[in-house]
């Protein structure tokens, strides 16, 4: 048998990498995060049938298949100029809510949760999924797995294998919801609501009751006064499946509201030589470097941004939680990055309640779930709120419906500039010189872990762990220290 020794230097590609540059006095001059990316999507998509895009795009990401599938499906509606029947829209939203719940549950308890539930400076060996189970109890561990399984089974029933859904079609969905399946959605929603209430109580007991954590969440190291973007319904309430995009300024006032189709008028991309990721910013404000404030076009997406960008939640229990959130943290908007974890749980509860409302709607079992497209395809742009934030798909085709251009703007791209701000600020506040202890380094990582960023295909990370390389260099580039984090 060949023994493979892992040399940190040879395995950099495919992993997140934090670079920290320190000056002569030991203070951090600047720091940034590199995220690897799957390459070649545009070329890969060219010449394919547009109808295949919801399946193809769901296959490029093992973490968010349903988000890509749904964004792709909505883009096909636009491309083929077809409006799905009301029942189809409800079915899509109900299934999508199931996905939001199971993904948020995974993140809070097993990926981001260890920082809070176990503690940011707890020994590394305990700061993982087992540590979380140790702290909250075996039953909760089983419950997380049980709720997720129930929801994933329903998603499979409604639309085929969760990894490769054959659910959404241009103009609707592939099959109606049977009364039996509807009943299971009703039961799962009730179960998920209880789980959501319980999860919020865990957050109150473990985080809010601990002044040290509250101080950490509200500390300047994790605060940026930026713009926020999210989908809202007609009443300006958070919605994950559909609506208008609303942007609020750093004071929480509505700055913009636009349809997905117009995203190119409002969102532009800034390129940096050190990053594979393009940094999205608000065109109307302009790129003003990696800074926050009203004159910088840097914005955020994802749970905290969605709550900030909306006037409330669409369901009663989540609305109560929304009000508690803003009253506890000093009013809307909240600029504390780490509050994203709390916002994520409020969304979990909201998605569970909303799923229940849709499942109870008599129209959900209507057989009328498809409008057959008849028009020639041209250009399609679609949007959903992925768990990690706003996700745009944009396809253009020839008259036969073959893709001539395809572009995706994923949540991590929308968030990239603010993530860069977060890493830089946390490193400056927490790191002093090349000798950094484990706990401090973890606190730097927490600055981006809250966003739940997608690390290309490297998102396949160990529960509770993030494969990562930290390099600490002098300003002239000399490498002082490499720390492997996995």
């Amino acid at each position: 048998m060949t023994e493979i020794l892992i040399d940190p230097i040879t395995r950099l590609e495919g992993h997140g990498k934090i670079h920290i540059f320190v000056g002569d006095g030991g203070a951090v001059d600047h720091a940034y995060l590199q995220i690897p990316e799957l390459r070649g999507f545009e070329k890969f998509a060219q010449g394919r049938r547009a109808e295949d895009m919801p399946q193809i795009t769901s296959r490029i990401c093992g973490v968010c298949p349903m988000a890509h599938h749904m964004a792709g499906t909505k883009t096909l509606d636009d491309l083929f100029h077809v409006d799905p029947p009301p029942a189809a829209k409800k079915v899509r939203e109900m299934v999508y809510d199931a996905f939001m719940i199971e993904d948020h549950a995974l993140h809070f308890f097993f990926l981001g949760g260890p920082d809070f539930v176990v503690g940011p400076t707890a020994p590394k060996a305990e700061r993982n999924i087992l540590g979380v189970i140790g702290k909250v109890g075996l039953e909760i561990g089983k419950e997380v797995i049980g709720v997720r399984k129930e929801l994933r089974d329903l998603m499979v029933e409604a639309g085929g294998k969760a990894a490769h859904p054959v659910f959404g079609l241009p103009g609707g969905v592939s099959k109606p919801i049977s009364p039996e399946l509807r009943d299971r959605f009703v039961a799962a929603a009730a179960h998920a609501v209880e789980f959501g209430k319980f999860s919020l109580q865990v957050f109150r007991d473990v985080v809010l009751a601990n002044q040290e954590y509250v101080d950490l969440v509200t500390s300047d190291a994790y605060t940026h006064r930026t713009y926020y973007m999210g989908l809202v319904d007609e009443a300006n309430k958070v919605n994950y499946y559909d609506g208008r995009l609303r942007v609020v300024d750093p004071d929480g006032k509505e700055y913009l509201a636009f349809e997905a189709r117009d995203y190119l008028d409002h969102v532009a991309e800034h390129v940096e030589p050190w990053s594979y990721i393009k940094f999205c910013y608000l065109k109307d404000v302009g790129w003003n470097g990696f800074t926050d404030g009203p004159d910088s076009g840097v914005f955020a997406v994802a749970p905290l941004a969605r709550l900030n960008a909306a006037d409330g939640m669409s369901t009663p229990l989540a609305q109560e939680a929304y009000e508690e959130f803003f009253s506890t943290l000093g009013g809307r908007p909240v600029h504390f990055t780490l509050a994203t974890h709390w916002a994520r749980l409020i969304e979990l509860l909201n998605a569970a309640e909303r799923m229940g409302e849709l499942a109870a709607d008599p129209e959900i079992v209507s057989p009328d779930v498809r409008t057959i497209p008849t028009e020639t395809p041209t250009v399609g742009i679609g949007v959903v709120e992925a768990p990690r934030g706003t996700l745009f798909h944009h396809y253009e085709t020839d008259e036969r419906g073959l893709i001539t251009m395809a572009n995706l703007i994923v949540a991590t791209q929308n968030n990239a500039a603010r993530i860069a701000l977060s890493v830089d600020k946390a490193a400056k506040a927490l790191v002093h010189g090349p000798e950094v202890d484990e706990g401090l380094l973890n606190e730097v990582e927490m600055a981006f872990r809250a966003y739940d960023p997608c690390f290309g295909c490297a998102t396949h990370s160990l529960p509770g762990q993030m494969p990562l390389i930290v390099e600490i260099r002098r300003l002239d580039g000399e490498l002082l220290r490499t720390i492997r984090r996995d």
Partner: protein
């Protein structure tokens, strides 16, 4: 549910990352009577859901270590995985999953073999397999077949042995 799981990990449209799914696909029909064959690009806890309920598992995955030539197949048991799985783009974290399964009282494969194939480029969509990895495909398939067949024979022998006392004569 089958006692044996063949799990081909990877993204079937991302260059060399397809090696795991391609091995699963090659054996899907041939092994259908003796194993559940699954391809997946999931990770972490989602993999726990795939692995749970099986007694034995063969996992095929792509790794980038840069320490051995592309196409090299490294076979490991669960206890050897720790350090080696880390460079995989899937970060399967099998030892952690086994520990979680044990804590939660879930059935988890007591015998696991991981075949890690050193790859060149698992990040370019639509690129297909690189030449050295394409050359290794048949060997990986053959090794997985041999492994699962040998488990079946072992299981058959065990059954025979156990049934002997009750047989007449």
């Amino acid at each position: 549910m089958s006692g044996t799981l063949l799990l081909g990990l990877g993204n079937d449209v991302a260059g060399d990352d397809a090696i795991g799914p391609l091995v699963a696909r090659a054996l899907l029909v041939e092994l259908e009577d003796v194993a559940e064959v699954v391809e997946s690009s999931a990770s972490g806890l989602a993999l726990l859901e795939v692995l749970a309920g099986h007694d034995r598992a063969v996992v095929v995955d792509a790794v980038v270590t840069g320490r051995v030539p592309p196409g090299t197949i490294t076979e490991m048991g669960l206890d050897e995985v720790g350090e080696v799985v880390a460079p995989s783009v899937h970060q399967a974290g099998l030892p952690e999953l086994a520990a979680v399964a044990e804590r939660l009282g879930l059935t988890f494969p007591s015998r696991t073999r991981v075949l890690a194939v050193e790859v060149v480029d698992p990040w370019t969509l639509g690129a297909g397999l690189s030449e050295p990895v394409a050359r290794a495909l048949d060997e990986v398939v053959a090794r997985v077949r041999t492994l699962i067949r040998s488990w079946e024979e072992e299981a058959a022998c065990t059954t025979t042995t156990l049934s002997r006392p009750s047989s007449p004569g």
